[in-house]
Symmetry: C2
Subunit: 274 residues, 2 copies
């Protein structure tokens, strides 16, 4: 299959030049793994989208969006795919002011390059991005369409031949990777950076935090300095398409694949590789 | 007239859903005033676009863009309009990495709501936005498509009934207004915030800085604290569509319209109101 898209419920491959997503990045998106015809954590993605939309005051009807998703998935059969939802604040009026409450929804299904089982099993090497994330509490955690920092950071990694890279905030704290969240095992605790000032609060991150609680792991979500990374026994990254990848190297710093990462991978393995 | 748009040189009203401008705000834009059929400071806008494009590593051919502008302007006659150029980094491949160097260009001409002569003459009241600008030196000064901060700030002002609002950075320094740059007269000097950490380096701002030098005004571009605003004898805002508007009030703080603002307005009046 190639791809199919619904724009406000109609099949289309393009969108008006007046769309505020194009004009200002004024919108949100979700990227959802579809395995054997079924969208993984669709409700969680829609709830996150609705929550982020409330913060940006963009109207969001999750029932209508779920209906769009069902229509596209109905033709997929038991295949794998990527489902992408984009919700923008409708069309440009004059300038930045949102004026009337409106939104456009774009739901697309596209063929999937299978997530790397090799990385899941054997781990991945990360670079350290020079690009820093700006601190913006009003947008922190939100999966919005203003992603130039990620484009710059990912471009760095691409030029240096890394598949993924760690990104710090302007003060040097560890926040996330360019398209994934980061976890560490430090002195027996599962540690993850807080996302109060920047970063995207990924669905896979949320699933791991919930699993950690379920499994009785000691959990610390807070400020993570580079020293914590150096002291970490394990490092791993996650997102809702790749699942969990152990990190075996950050620049020249080697890390072992450890029991905490493997335990969490086992919790989610069936979703990604059954 | 309504509007006409060229997408990569062809008349169109829409763009592919794969465009990276929509997906990530991965692009740039220019908004240009057209008076009596002639685009004001077109070369300067194209040069700024090319300079910003180099910083983001987006290919930009100003000759081709100038050709698109000429084609649209040819049908306009001696009318007023707004010319908008959007340059994006082509289509989405997989994820944030830019991969191959590519770009899409969108050039649009639309009917213009005449800039307010009343504001030019009698001044405008500003609010003070709660939304702060994040400090991101890698993107500072660039007129890119990641404009959620401006959307949030403009939304605040819209709800409070202000036409424009002053925006500070996260440390409380004055940077700009939501869609314009800001100048002050402080103790006989013309003062404007530096834009090394955030803000857009507008073409009208650049024209005013050049005029100030030409006119022999004492000029200070640097950090501007709120105390400078309180001490300022004059405050005015500018962009390349409205020209220069004196500020007569910021929240409850009154300001007089003074000689420095009027002198600079006279320098540019013919471009906007001849």
């Amino acid at each position: 299959m190639t791809s199919a898209s619904l724009v406000n419920g109609r099949f289309a491959n393009n969108i008006s030049l007046d769309n505020r997503g194009l004009a200002y990045g004024d919108g949100l998106f979700e990227t959802i793994l579809v395995r054997k015809g079924s969208a993984l954590w669709l409700d969680e993605h829609l709830q996150r989208l609705a929550q982020d939309a409330r913060r940006l005051r963009i109207p969001c009807d999750t029932d209508v969006l779920a209906g769009d998703c069902s229509r596209l998935l109905a033709n997929l059969g038991a295949n794998d795919a990527i489902l992408k939802i984009v919700l923008t604040r409708g069309t440009v009026s004059r300038g930045y002011s949102p004026l009337a409450a409106a939104s456009d929804r774009i739901v697309s299904l596209s063929s999937v390059v299978p997530a790397s089982l090799r990385y899941w099993q054997q781990g991945v090497a990360l670079g350290l991005c020079q690009t820093r994330l700006a601190r913006q509490p009003q947008l922190a955690g939100i999966k919005h369409l203003n992603r130039l920092e990620q484009v710059l950071a990912a471009g760095e990694m691409q030029r240096r031949g890394f598949d993924e890279g760690l990104v710090l905030d302007e003060t040097g704290k560890i926040i996330e990777a360019t398209r994934s969240n980061v976890f560490m095992a430090v002195a027996g605790s599962l540690v993850s950076p807080s996302l109060n000032d920047c970063g995207v609060n990924g669905i896979m991150r949320q699933q791991i935090l919930a699993a950690a609680e379920r499994l009785g792991l000691r959990l610390k979500v807070g400020v993570v300095e580079m020293s914590a990374l150096r002291n970490a026994d394990e490092v791993f990254i996650c997102n809702s398409v790749i699942g969990i990848w152990p990190v075996i190297k950050i620049e020249c710093m080697h890390k072992a694949i450890g029991p905490m990462c493997r335990q969490l991978q086992r919790e989610f393995e069936s979703h990604f590789y059954a």
